[in-house]
């Protein structure tokens, strides 16, 4: 009986999801979804809610019927199921309801505030997800039934990065790799030495400056966790350091995307800056998706920088262990410092990259734009800035020289925010695909006419149309599926990580670490901003 009681939240969530899926299947939610601009995701909503709901119910029944065991199935599937379902429900609610509602509310508050709140604070589903996780854990706390599942967030985020490996080409990885090794190498080592120097100036213990230098220099809390045992950090030093890093990181997560947009950074520049200047690697991913959650260009750049930083971690641990060991006489093995600290998931990322590069996911006929996907997909949409450019151009009658078909294609692009068939024909896939493809052809005609100076369009308008056309050129269905899963994995992982940021861990920031942390963090963020603007140009990303 008590087992059924324990599983009650999962049963309720599962039943709720199935009821939602069935109601959505009847078409009753179409009006609401249209008002929220999420109607194009209705098919996905039905599939996801029914599948997740069925799995939740099945798992809850099994958990109610049997004693918890120690098998791998129990440990990795049955016990974490409640938490996994909870985070998925939160992710779905945020993507399909909370984000659109925040946008609508921001727009309605615009006359009062003079700006769109969601744009200034970058309140997209990623940031909202992290915030929801933080709010939940600091108000009601993580429910008991969900605790084992929440721990999966780390693994799921790693899976997201591994899947991202399928989205790089050799040229991209080579170019971004060179940028990242130089920039990250300079700023990681520079910040580590800056903190060690500040520690010396302020006469702080080596254990404290050691742990803080790794955290501020390499990858935030992850580096602190890796270095603390090596430099024998005291509890207060760890608490102050982690508090400082978490506070600084959360501020960066909101401030970086806004500054990046104000400075007119392109996705490559922003990805490079976020990957260098933001301390915690989870917050780098969040800031990259906050800067641009529509396509994953920024995320691709930021993650390369993230991975480079992580690869520097064993080196920094080795340097600090040598530096600390000299004074204390402590001896540590190469294995315990470097091999044990090596992030194994990067091998998975490289494996997916190699498989993708060898064409395992993309048959030759699908390469170089021959495969076109005009179905509804969040990532094939133009960005909100591009949409506004097109909308303004239309209201100013900037498309006056276009043919009727071309004008219809542009009008539809503005209406649907992406190249696609007619919404009402979506059940007839052949017709839907045909209309979508012909709209793409018309838009390519618009670009060709602009190039031949037959019509005059601003650079921004051409860029927006070019992006829309580019978005529907896909490498292969496998890569698209991997990317879709990856986006959900990132959303899941970041909500779960948000749940692990407690108020206590943030408010414990203090002591000398906060002084040295603020000096080194602001120096790193500011210098990397100018260096990135100066050095990093737009890299051609597919």
């Amino acid at each position: 009986m008590s087992r059924i009681k324990d599983q009650m939240p999962v049963l309720i969530m599962g039943t709720g999801l199935i009821i939602y899926g069935l109601i959505a299947k009847t078409g009753a939610l179409e009006g609401l979804a249209k008002a929220l601009h999420t109607h194009k995701t209705l098919d996905l909503q039905i599939t996801m809610t029914l599948v997740v709901g069925a799995i939740a119910l099945l798992g809850a029944f099994i958990n109610s019927a049997k004693e918890p065991g120690n098998s791998n199935f129990d440990t990795f599937v049955l016990q974490p199921l409640g938490g996994i379902v909870l985070i998925l429900v939160m992710a779905m609610a945020i993507r399909w309801y909370m984000e659109p509602l925040v946008k609508i509310m921001s727009k309605s508050l615009q006359p009062l505030l003079g700006f769109k709140l969601y744009k200034v604070l970058n309140l997209n589903y990623v940031v909202l997800g992290i915030l929801a996780g933080v709010v939940l854990t600091n108000t009601w706390g993580i429910p008991k039934f969900a605790a084992p599942g929440v721990k999966c967030a780390r693994f799921v985020l790693k899976m997201g990065v591994i899947m991202l490996g399928a989205r790089y080409s050799f040229a991209e990885l080579a170019k971004l790799g060179v940028y990242s090794v130089w920039l990250v190498g300079f700023f990681v080592l520079g910040t580590v030495f800056l903190v060690l120097w500040l520690g010396n100036i302020f006469k702080q213990p080596k254990s404290m400056t050691g742990v803080l230098s790794a955290g501020m220099g390499v990858c935030g809390v992850s580096a602190t966790v890796a270095v603390a045992p090596v430099v024998k950090a005291k509890s207060a030093e760890m608490a102050y350091t982690i508090g400082t890093i978490l506070s600084f990181g959360i501020i960066c997560m909101f401030v970086f995307p806004t500054i990046g947009k104000l400075a007119g950074m392109n996705p490559v520049q922003f990805g490079a800056w976020a990957g260098t200047g933001i301390l915690n690697s989870a917050q780098v991913a969040a800031a990259a998706l906050a800067f641009n959650a529509v396509d994953i260009k920024t995320l691709k750049v930021a993650e390369i920088f993230n991975i480079t930083r992580v690869l520097f971690l064993p080196i920094i641990v080795l340097v600090l262990a040598t530096w600390f060991g000299k004074e204390t006489g402590q001896k540590l093995s190469f294995k315990s410092i470097v091999i044990d600290k090596f992030p194994v998931f990067i091998l998975g990322f490289l494996l997916l990259f190699a498989m993708s590069s060898m064409g395992l996911f993309s048959p030759p006929s699908h390469y170089k734009g021959k495969y076109i996907d005009v179905s509804y997909n969040d990532r094939t949409q133009v960005t909100s800035e591009e949409w506004e450019t097109l909308n303004n151009a239309m209201s100013k009658n900037a498309f006056s020289g276009l043919s009727t078909e071309q004008l219809e294609a542009v009008t539809n692009l503005i209406e649907q925010r992406q190249i696609a068939g007619n919404y009402d024909d979506r059940a007839n896939k052949k017709e839907f695909d045909h209309v979508g493809r012909s709209r793409m052809t018309q838009l390519e005609g618009v670009l060709a006419a602009a190039k031949a100076n037959q019509i005059k369009l601003s650079g921004e308008v051409k860029s927006a149309i070019k992006h829309a056309v580019k978005q529907v050129h896909k490498k292969s269905k496998t890569v698209v599926t991997l990317t879709n899963c990856m986006i959900w994995f990132f959303a899941f992982g970041l909500i779960g990580l948000g749940m692990q940021i407690t108020k206590k861990s943030i408010t414990q920031a203090g002591g000398w670490p906060i002084v040295m942390g603020v000096i080194s963090g602001i120096t790193k963020a500011t210098l990397s901003f100018f260096v990135v603007l100066w050095l990093v140009k737009d890299v051609v990303l597919n």
Binding site: A153, R154, L157, K158, M208, C219, G220, V221, S222, T224, V225, A226, A228, P229, K232, A233, K234, S235, A236, E237, M238, A239, Y240, I242, I245, L246, N280, S281, A282, Q283, V310, L313, D340, K341, P343, V344, G493, L497, G498, Q500, I501, T502, K504, S505, G510, G511, W512, I514, V515
Partner: protein, 157 residues
């Protein structure tokens, strides 16, 4: 009047007052049984924040280090008490990890203590860069403790 006192201390200024009060009583009444309890806040388990890059081995190494560090600090705290109050040798010393209020009341119940002694409420200190004390100094809300009390609570003035 009381037979078994549970002294809750973690070395803060308020807790020092509780220590002084209890060991004065112990000097006056040598038959009094005193248990010194130090509670390690369960939130220390969440110290890894939003770290997701490290392997479980690195996590375990870190948490072991945190635990060892805390044990060392608690041992130092107990030694300080023994050095300050010779009668403290008669007391029993206990360390537990968990929610502070729940752990105090649970231990009091398990040991059948008839009095719990804690230090007075102190205002949070203003931020100071010199405030690098031990990591033990967690705070507890009285409204969490009071409904759970199994015996009288004395707040040392």
């Amino acid at each position: 009047m009381f037979n078994h006192v549970l002294l809750c201390t973690h070395g803060t200024e308020g807790a020092l007052k509780a220590e002084s009060f209890v060991f004065q009583k112990l000097t006056d009444n040598p038959t009094l049984k005193v248990t010194v309890l130090t509670v390690l806040d369960e939130d220390w388990r969440g110290m890894t924040g939003d770290d997701w890059l490290n392997s479980s081995k690195t996590h375990t190494t870190f948490l072991d280090h945190v635990e060892n560090q805390m044990n060392e600090e608690i041992a130092e705290e107990w030694q300080r008490i023994k050095d300050s109050y010779p009668v403290a040798d008669q007391a029993e010393f206990l360390q537990r990890t968990g929610n502070i209020a729940k752990t105090i009341t649970k231990v009091a119940e398990q040991l059948a203590c008839d009095l719990i002694v804690i230090g007075p409420y102190r205002k949070k200190k203003k931020f100071s860069i010199h405030s690098t004390g031990m990591g033990l100094k967690a705070r507890m809300k009285n409204q969490e403790l009071h409904p759970l009390l199994p015996c009288p609570l004395l707040i040392a003035p």
